[in-house]
Structures are given as structure tokens and as C-alpha cells.
């Protein structure tokens, strides 16, 4: 049987790795590709993978693409409407949601409404709208297949759970490039420092988020929704070499774990062919050369972003949206050298403190809270001059 997929965010890190998997599997077909603004790369992908539908965010870029691929049988669309069409209206049975940010919420919902399984790499959707997404998945009978390596590890570890209750999720973290640093040491971190992740090759935004451990905080919230556990049942364990990708502890004390080399293609492929596994080229864990797996406890003092994530997740409502939106905006400002490194988390804290939480927010209320948070950050940046 031919597997059909649509990829939202096809020119990013997860998107291109998904297409690598498509490249060496003969029984998979791409129905739609959606990207942000990289016309040239999307054109190359269209020529290679021949989707029926392609989407770019801006109308201008979309028109540019349309001219470039005029010789091919592909419909070019744009904007949120186009993204939603790419998610929901092709013959795909699985939609890979690899866009960054809350932009993923509406297309994800549209795909689910259309009965498609979701290979979820867009964690913001669950962080901000988990209370809408998870019941909808149940109602529609569609699967939410995690693509994040940690959540895939948990998902894999839970395959034999047979309904047994989870006592604890042990979410591993590399600790990022500044593990062991104090806040004083981090004061002068530049974008190029924070973009060096010790183990994983990822997009720019998530690499910064890993360095602040905000990404781990978002993952705790994601795990809370995906696996139906309380925030405080998710314990972050620092495992610097990223050999253990995460673990689950059961009531009897047994801990199930998934280990592997740091290769995102594994969780992507697992999500695409779930529950089947198939050969994946690449290095394997080698226990004749691996001498140890080390563990540390997370340092919430020097990485307060993680602590704030627990606070946001415990409180719930619209607060995780504020946490996420503030971080998104602050990271962009940091990458553009408008604010210093430590201000990323200060801005998140400020935004959270100033927010009046809305319980059980609708998609509209989530997007309003996002906008409100953006406005708050945008209004503040000029009063917070960068240090360096």
C-alpha cells in the first residue's frame, strides 16, 4: 500500500529529513509541500517529489514559485488558507506538521477534521491547544504520532504498556551548550554561541530554545498532553550525550527506555510507518565502544526558563501560550541582536506576570493571547537595551 503524506514546513530541518526518508522508500508519496519563503528549495523539492499541491506563506513568493514550476502539474497556494488546504484537502493519510510556531494550530485541526493522522513536530500546537487537539484526536479517531525524539522515545517505550499506568516520564535533555554554566557566565552569550548544539542538528529557533532549556519546558508540556500525565509526573533528566532519548517508569518500578544515535530520521520514520519499523541507514549505538551514559539533575536556578515552563504548564489555560509566544518573540530579537541572551527568559517571565489567564481558551483566544504577548514584548524591547 502506498503511504501518502503532506509536509508542512518542508524546507526546514524536519521537513528535509522527512523527504530524505521518502527518497529511499519506494512506497511513499508526497501529496503536498508547504514552506515559509524559500522559493528555490521548494521548487527543487517539487521537481523531485512531485506533489499535487505546494504552498508558500506570502502571495508574492507563491506567484514567483508558480512561474518557476509552470511546466509542472502542481497547484500553488499561499497564506493560512493555502496552508490549511495543504494540510486537509489532499489525499495524504498523514500530515507531518513541521512548521515552527502557533501557525500550526489551524492547519493541524483542519487535517484532523479531515481524518488525517498527524506526525507532530510542531510542539507549539500541543503546548498551546492541547486541550483542543487531544479530545479532537479521540473524537475523530486519528493518531497523534510524536516526531520529537524524546516524545517518540516515550511513545516507543509505551508501545507495550498494555494499559498499565505511567508513574513517571523521565524526559532526557542534553543540557545544551551552556550546561554547567552560571547566569553570570551566560550574560555575554552571542547568537553564534547558542547556535552550537552539542548533539543534535536542528533548526535555529529550537537550537536557541535548547540552550535556554525553554525547549525542554515546552517538551514537558507536550508530554503532559500527549501521554495524559500531570506536569509533575514529568521529570527532566540531564543526559548530556543524548544516548537515552527518554524513559517511562511504571508503578512496579520498571523503567522502559528508548536509546539510539541522535538521528531525527528515526522518530520521523517511526511516525510515518507506525507501528512498522524498517531499516534506516546510518550509524548504530555500539556498546563495544560506548563506555558510559552520564546523568545530571537540571539546574533550575541557572536555567529558569525550565522552571517557568513548569509554572505555565501547571497553571494551564492561556499561560502556556504566553510562555511560548514570549519566547518565540524574544528568541527572534536575540537572533537579531536586539536583546541580550538572559533577556530571553526575563521577557518570558515579564509576559507571564502581566497576563490574565483565560481558562480553556478557544483557538481565537489562543491567537489573541499570542498577539497580546507579541505586543507586550514589542513594546518593551526599546526600554531594554542590549548589553553587549
Amino acid at each position: 500500500m502506498i503511504k501518502k503524506i503532506a509536509i508542512l514546513g518542508s524546507t526546514g530541518s524536519i521537513g528535509t529529513q522527512t523527504l530524505e526518508i521518502v527518497r529511499y522508500n519506494k512506497d511513499i508519496e508526497v501529496t503536498a509541500l508547504a514552506a515559509g519563503g524559500n522559493v528555490q528549495k521548494l521548487e527543487e523539492q517539487i521537481r523531485e517529489f512531485k506533489p499535487k499541491l505546494a504552498c508558500l506563506w506570502s502571495e508574492e513568493k507563491a506567484r514567483e514559485l508558480k512561474t518557476a514550476v509552470a511546466d509542472l502539474d502542481v497547484k500553488v497556494v499561499w497564506g493560512m488558507e493555502g496552508l490549511t488546504e495543504a494540510a486537509a484537502s489532499t489525499e495524504a493519510d498523514t500530515v507531518v506538521t513541521a512548521v515552527v510556531g502557533m501557525i500550526g494550530i489551524r492547519p493541524t485541526i483542519a487535517a484532523m477534521e479531515a481524518g488525517k493522522d498527524i506526525a507532530l513536530a510542531n510542539k507549539e500546537t500541543l503546548v498551546t491547544a492541547g486541550h483542543i487537539i487531544m479530545p479532537l484526536a479521540e473524537k475523530k479517531g486519528v493518531k497523534i504520532l510524536p516526531v520529537d525524539s524524546e516524545h517518540s522515545a516515550i511513545f516507543q517505550s509505551l508501545q507495550g504498556s498494555a494499559g498499565n499506568r505511567i508513574r513517571k516520564i523521565l524526559l532526557t535533555a542534553s543540557g545544551g551548550p551552556f550546561r554547567g554554566w552560571t547566569r553570570e557566565q551566560m550574560a555575554d552569550v552571542r547568537p553564534e554561541d547558542a547556535l552550537k548544539h552539542p548533539n543534535w542538528a536542528m533548526g535555529r529557533k529550537i537550537t536557541i530554545d535548547s540552550s535556554t532549556m525553554v525547549n525542554k519546558g515546552l517538551e514537558v508540556m507536550e508530554a503532559h498532553w500527549l501521554f495524559d500525565v500531570d506536569m509533575d509526573q514529568v521529570q527532566v533528566v540531564i543526559q548530556p550525550s543524548s544516548v537515552i532519548h527518554s524513559m517511562v517508569e511504571y508503578e512496579d518500578g520498571a523503567v522502559l527506555a528508548q536509546l539510539g544515535t541522535p538521528d531525527m530520521k528515526l522518530p520521523i520514520q517511526y511516525a510515518l510507518y507506525y507501528p512498522r519499523r524498517r531499516f534506516l541507514p546510518g550509524p548504530r549505538l555500539d556498546f563495544t565502544t560506548l563506555t558510559q551514559i552520564a546523568f545530571e539533575t537540571p539546574d533550575m536556578e541557572n536555567f529558569p526558563g525550565l522552571k517557568l515552563a513548569y509554572e505555565a504548564g501547571r497553571r494551564g489555560g492561556s499561560l502556556p501560550t504566553v510562555f511560548n509566544a514570549a519566547n518565540e518573540r524574544a528568541v527572534a530579537l536575540f537572533l537579531n541582536r536586539k536583546i541580550d541572551y538572559l533577556s530571553i527568559v526575563s521577557l518570558i517571565r515579564g509576559a507571564m506576570e502581566g497576563h490574565r489567564v483565560i481558562e480553556n481558551p478557544s483557538v481565537e483566544q489562543i491567537l489573541e493571547a499570542e498577539k497580546e504577548t507579541y505586543d507586550y514584548i514589542d513594546g518593551r524591547q526599546f526600554s531594554t537595551p542590549p548589553r553587549a
Copy 2:
């Protein structure tokens, strides 16, 4: 629903730990208890757990027990006939086979013929008669639930396998008390040295087997039968602290593992209530204090017992029986200070070299090969004076 179990080997390490589990679970009942020769302990167990049937190996001890429990409603039996009755003729739905040695083969087969699931701690049964046991389990539709911590870990890790092919089993080993020693250093090892296992509290024979790594060799053969993999798909990994209890690698490179504290009650309870897990008192793995998990490769030069096990398992037929029987006899001689430590493995090698392999042996042929091996060792011991 009340779970009913029979325990063969109830006064040993696995047997008493099984009864500990029975003690704090209200929905489990013991139908039969069989022990070797410990009349007093078995009497205590009968008074506490009230089985309908009790068995001791010798008629004399059985008569002694019969007198002691004359006030109770319990039938006392003895010998192989009695052990088979205990295994097969009570209302037990699961039989815990925790006897040591090939004595377990016939009762295990009888239990399976009677449609009972097997909680298997008697690895000799699979090592010597795996080619009979595994097809019989399939034919009778009964489960073989591993109780060895490593095999339970593999079994747990395979629960979500969904039919996916195993590439490799990573069987962990503590390495025993002489890990890192040379053969020269081991020459003067006394029974009391070899009986000190670093992590696990176990019976005497298996503790010696752990020190020589013969136990790990038997476990490789057991894994080969239980999980239908070639001997060479089973890789022994030294993990000195016994935190990782074993692992499975799939075709895509994903490694699934079960971790935990070294407590045999976990695999026993998992086998009894499979696939349900329930709370088990005791310490948990604590990733706030655990700093590392170390790995080493097994030293086949200084632990040739492991190498011989691979040879026996690869060759198959009656050779694993010879490996096991020679070891059983040699360990008894060592514990009785009749031979030195290194002679255990030399005797195994000698017995294997002198044996003409029978393909696909019947139970009778297995027991004949055992006897032949015992005779070989008994004939040799006087010509090999102990060193110390």
C-alpha cells in the same frame, strides 16, 4: 479473578520471593509447593500459604513432612512423579519453575501439556530442550513468561514490538565479582569469594555461574530460544551496576531497554500478572542520584565459559546439555572444595570435546547426555587434584 499458581522450588531464592509477592497480593492463591529437602521451611510455607499439594524430592523427607502437617488438608507427594503432579495436576493456571537443573524438564512439559502457563526461572529447561519446549508452547497455546531479570527485561522491551524484526539482543551482565581479573588472579578463588555477587542476591549455584560467566552463556542460549534469534544476534554487554537489565535493537537502530533496581520480585511479579503491572514496594531508580551507567565488553579470554557457551549454542543438538551438565557437576565439586575454581570451565571444555553430538535430542536423549556427562566428570575428578 483469583490467580492460581504452583511453585516448583518454593524454598529457594526465586521461590521465596514469589511467595513474598503472594503475601502482599490478595488475589493470588498457591495450589502446590514443591521443594528439594528443606522440610522445616516447606512446612512453614504450607502453614502460611495453604496449598492443596506439597512435594519433596525424597520419600523419606516427604514422610517427615507428612507427619509434621498431619493437621492440615494437604496432600504430600515426592520424587519426579510428585514434582510432575505438583506441576500439572492442580488448578494452577501458572507454574513457576524455579528448580535448579534439568530436573525441571519433565514437570515443565507436563504443566504445558496440562495447558498451564510457565513462569520460567529454570533456564536449563530451555537451554537443553528449547527445541521441544518452544514448539510445544505454540501447539498448546501456553505462555512461557521469563523470570530471569535479563529475559524479563527483553520480554518487557519487546511488548510493543508489533511484529517488528529484532536485529540484536543486548544481554547485560554485571561481570560478577571477578570482572577485570586475569585467569592467574582467579586461580586461587575459594567458594566464599565466588559467592559474593556485587548486585543480586541469588542462590549459590547461580552465583558461582555468574562469577564464571557460565550463567551469562546459559542466558544467551535461553534468549536464543525464547526470542527466536540466532546465538550471534545476542550480544553480551557488561553493565557492572545492573541498572539496565537488557535491551533489544530493531532494524531501524532504535534500542528499547528495561532499567530498574536489582530486585527479582519485579520480573517475578511481571510474569505472574502479565501483561498487568502493579505496585511493588521497594526502592526505585533515582535519576537525581544516579550519575552514570557504565559499559564494558566481555572478556572472553579470561572468562572462556562464555565463549564455550556460544560454541555449544551454535552447534546445538545435545551439546548445550553437556555444557550445562558439566557445569552443574563441576560447580558442585567446586563448592565442596574438590576442584579448584578454574577447573570448572576446564571440565566443561573436556566434556564438550568428548561428546558426540545428537541432533534434535528427545527428552530421554537429553537426560542420557546429562548422565553421560556426569559420569565423565565423576570419572575425572580424582585425576585432577585441587590446587589450593
